[in-house]
């Protein structure tokens, strides 16, 4: 059996997860969807080496974020998922949203259309997530993902972080961005009170869903 979403026929789903128990957990769900799980046992080495082995073995992927700690892979899941999606291979990231993870994932969020929490992962949510990915490949964005050019006001700056407000999203809420989340092109302009522009999905409901792209300085 396979899943047909637009022109994508999905039969084999790559499971990238360092914990054997959790890997099996994904396997059960995928089997219940009549899909064929392709379990990656690891170690997966570097992303550059690994990514070239992915094509041809699967049509989609589900991926945990924390892969480096256990030595299972030389990269974290967000990077892999973003890379696959940018290659038009639907991939879904499944992780809890802790602050440190939000920072890291934000760097790749543009190419991660859908993120699931571990407890949310079931056949319906996974199928929906794949549909969202494929819709984005076709240029159809969910309202919460549609990027718009918007004003980014810098409120404060410290050594590692920049605190910004997006009046077009929520003028009351301060968003902490790591410097790495901001294009180096505009680093020169970053100071308290500076007004920058970027493309941001201002339809997002939560702060951790926001992604920033195409920064513009003065």
């Amino acid at each position: 059996m396979s899943l047909q979403i637009a022109s994508h026929e999905i039969r084999h789903v790559l499971v990238v997860e360092d914990n054997p128990g959790a890997r099996e957990g994904y396997q059960y769900t995928l089997e219940d969807m009549d899909l064929e799980p392709v379990l990656e046992m690891g170690p997966l080495g570097s992303l550059d080496a690994y990514i070239s082995t992915v094509a041809g073995r699967c049509e989609a992927a589900i991926c945990d974020h924390h892969l480096k700690e256990s030595g299972y892979a030389g990269f974290n899941g967000a990077k892999l998922v973003a890379e696959m999606n940018s290659r038009r291979q639907p991939a879904v990231l499944c992780t809890a949203w802790e602050e440190a993870v939000v920072d890291e994932i934000r760097l790749f969020r543009k190419d991660i259309p859908c993120l699931l929490k571990p407890g949310e992962f079931d056949p319906e949510s996974f199928q929906r997530a794949l549909e969202v990915c494929i819709d984005e490949f076709r240029g159809h964005f969910q309202p919460s993902r549609y990027p718009s050019r918007t004003l980014v006001r810098v409120e404060a700056v410290d050594q590692d972080n920049v605190y910004v407000v997006l009046p077009g999203w929520n003028p009351q809420e301060v968003i902490r961005l790591t410097r790495a989340a901001i294009s180096p092109d505009v680093h020169l302009y970053i100071e308290a009170g500076a007004r920058l522009h970027a493309r941001v999905n201002i339809g997002a409901e939560r702060q951790d869903e926001l992604y920033f792209d195409q920064w513009e300085g003065k």
Partner: protein, 688 residues
């Protein structure tokens, strides 16, 4: 038999050049690298009217130029790997080894390009070649376009070298493109090194001049620490850290550095890693000539760890926002004594004749294979070692301060005692008595402080352990349980159909609720550790209260507790940090939950009420538990005081300290209208 050939459509030229080298600065940099390969000492890039389409770019160098064969079999050949020619050049340089794709992209930036080259040597030849890209657009395959190379006699005075003119640019260069190109050219040939005979690329643009001035400032001598780590060809490393005067502070053998890998060698080419670390505080810079602002600006432009591979810089390592050694991440995890990319500058110099490291075709760094990962491990191990040594030094410093304080205190005591001895005998006894009293109360205060320090150490340990547990449980066991449970539910429903509800529904729901409670606990711990919550700023009190209540909701439901939220009108705020308010409410809710275990009515109720009176905000948390029992209301705030077996007795102490830090007060009542305890927090606010 008929012979046939694979031929390439002219379209491929555009795709190869443009798709593999997306940015104009990187493409132009390839032409500058060609000049380096030709042993040029100087290479000038002149931008002419490039702020609009139709402009031109001239790249000229004083290198060895090209003979006819070199143009035909080298310059015009695209895609041949540089790895086949690792031979060093006349000046001993290892060729940058481009496959010609970047060059193609640069040459195609305009609609036409002319090459003029004068080879080094006795001949006075000069070769001229013009490529008109529109001819390719009209042709079917690449081979159809013939490119005539003209040989002309050059004047005696004209020196060897090459000049490329890219004409009629298809699009303009933005200010950012120019800035990026200027920075990339300045950093290309290690401006931090000391090689006066080196390669000096120059961009004729104002952006270049400013940056170049900045790069020449060289504030290395203002660094507080200079790490020098060397990795030999045999994979063994050594390192040392010197201070600003070059005096050695620490030294490491290979075994000290490679602790994590149990002394195994690094499987990568030899390398040398230098890192200059700055403590960017005003006090630290006071006695120096450079100001902290100057050094900060310099580090903002050039900070980070750059890689120089066979003499030339490899982007993007060390670019703004590139933290390939994960220095900032480690600094966030453990800030003490660690450098970040904004507080340090460094370079890893690699000499790799064998070509063990391979650059990506799109010139976006090295392929992250084993050799590169090993190189990274070497640099990271050196950083880890330096951090360990510096921490050790900081610990020694703290121990010394403790010792000095104790010594000084005892010296002061002796001084006072000898002063008392000089007091007339009549008054001496009363002064002596007063001093003894003072000493006793001071000792008591010290003892109390020691206990508090111990308490907070215990708390920190508990926090760290809880965070580790939370990370682990949220990531693994909880995920496994919830996914397996979902599978059981789905499959059982399918197999058992209507019998499922009677047989399994309840136990499955119970596990599901229990897992959610566990996850909530874990997340609560992790959220308390959020970086931003400890930052001082405006705190919207009701927003924090609502967030904490939401965080506790599943857990309260699991304990069959009903929480009533009764918040007053308005949005009161104060200056402080979210973490403090969170600590207050989370500890009070924990207390109520614990109280229900001890007894109380059959109904478990908690009420969180807020009120505003003048410039004060009141938070009143009441419950229907048994109230404070077997302990006086005064003692409940003391650290370690608990009537609950296994309780820490720390929760209310934290509530008191957090409220005090915000300029507020706390008050407790044995019973409330709900029947149990009530705690009232009163905090001054800035507005509503």
């Amino acid at each position: 038999m008929t012979d046939a050939r694979i031929r390439f459509s002219t379209e491929i030229l555009r795709r190869l050049g443009e798709e593999l080298n997306p940015s104009p600065d990187q493409s132009l940099l390839e032409l500058v690298k060609n000049a380096y390969d030709a042993d040029a000492r100087r290479c000038r890039v002149k931008l002419m009217s490039t702020d609009a389409p139709g402009g031109a770019i001239r790249i000229s160098d004083d290198g060895d130029g090209m003979e006819l064969e070199a143009i035909q079999d080298g310059w015009l050949v695209i895609g041949r790997s540089g790895k086949s020619s690792r031979e060093r050049t006349r000046l001993g340089r290892v060729p940058a080894g481009s496959k010609g794709l970047g060059r193609l992209a640069a040459l195609r930036m305009g609609t036409a390009v002319t090459l003029s080259t004068r080879p080094r040597g006795a001949s006075l030849a000069q070769y001229r070649l013009r490529i008109d890209w529109t001819a390719f657009d009209e042709a079917r395959v690449v081979d159809d376009v013939v490119l005539p190379i003209k040989k002309v006699r050059r004047t005696l005075s004209s020196r060897h070298g090459t000049e490329i003119l890219v004409k009629n640019l298809r699009s303009h260069l933005s200010r950012m493109d120019v800035k990026r190109l200027a920075r990339a050219m300045i950093l290309l040939a290690d401006p931090f090194g000391d090689d006066p005979e080196g390669f000096e690329p120059v961009l004729l643009a104002p952006e270049f001049g400013d940056l170049e001035k900045l790069v020449r400032e060289r504030y290395f001598e203002d660094a507080d620490y200079h790490l020098i780590a060397d990795l030999g060809g045999d994979g063994r490393a050594e390192a040392r850290v010197v201070d600003w005067q070059g005096a050695e502070l620490f030294r490491a053998t290979h075994e000290d550095l490679a602790v994590k890998r149990k002394g195994e060698t690094y499987l990568c080419p030899g390398a040398s890693f230098h890192l200059w670390v700055f403590r960017l505080s005003k006090d630290n810079f006071e006695p120096r000539t450079a100001t902290v602002e100057e050094v900060r600006t310099w580090l903002q432009s050039f900070g980070g760890v750059h890689i120089y591979y066979n003499g030339l810089r490899v982007a993007p390592y060390g670019n703004e926002g590139n933290d390939w050694l994960e220095m900032n991440l480690r600094r966030v995890q453990s800030p003490e004594e660690r450098p970040g990319t904004n507080t340090s500058i460094g370079r890893v110099v690699i000499a790799d004749d064998e070509g063990a490291l391979r650059q990506k075709t799109d010139r976006s760094g090295f392929i992250e294979d084993e050799a590169f990962e090993e190189l990274k491990a070497f640099a990271q191990d050196a950083l880890e070692w330096m951090a360990r040594r510096r921490l050790h030094m900081a610990e020694q410093r703290r121990a010394l301060v403790r010792e000095q304080v104790a010594r000084r205190s005892s010296q002061s005591q002796k001084k006072v005692e000898s002063a008392i001895a000089t007091v007339p005998e009549k008054q001496r006894e009363s002064v002596q008595l007063a001093f003894e009293g003072y000493k006793k109360s001071r000792d008591r205060e010290s003892e109390q402080l020691r206990k508090e320090v111990q308490l907070y150490r215990t708390l920190s340990t508990a926090g760290i352990t809880a965070a580790t547990f939370a990370h682990e449980s949220d990531g693994n066991p909880i995920k496994v349980i919830s996914q397996s449970l979902n599978a059981i539910e789905r499959r059982a429903k399918k197999e058992l159909r209507e019998r499922y509800a009677g047989l399994l529904q309840k136990p499955v729901d119970n596990i599901s609720r229990a897992v959610e409670s566990l996850a909530v606990l874990g997340r609560a711990v992790l959220r308390l550790l959020d970086h931003g919550k400890r930052r001082t700023g405006r705190v919207d009190l009701h927003r924090v209260i609502v967030t904490v209540i939401e965080m506790f909701e599943p857990f309260l439901a699991g304990r069959d507790v009903t929480l009533k939220q009764d918040l007053c009108e308005g949005a009161p705020y104060l200056r402080g940090n979210d973490a403090a308010i969170e600590s207050i409410l989370a500890n009070l809710l924990n207390n109520s939950l614990a109280a229900f275990v001890a007894g109380g009515g059959s109904e478990r109720r908690v009420r969180v009420r807020t009120e505003i009176e003048g410039q004060f905000w009141f938070l009143r948390v009441s419950d229907s538990g048994p109230g404070f029992q077997d302990i006086s209301l005064e003692d409940i705030w003391l650290p370690g005081q608990t009537t609950r077996p296994g309780g820490t007795g720390l929760g209310l102490t934290i509530v008191r300290d957090a409220a005090k830090d915000l300029g507020g007060t706390v008050e407790a009542f044995t019973s409330s209208d709900l029947g149990g305890a009530e705690v009232l927090i009163r905090l001054p606010i800035l507005g509503v």
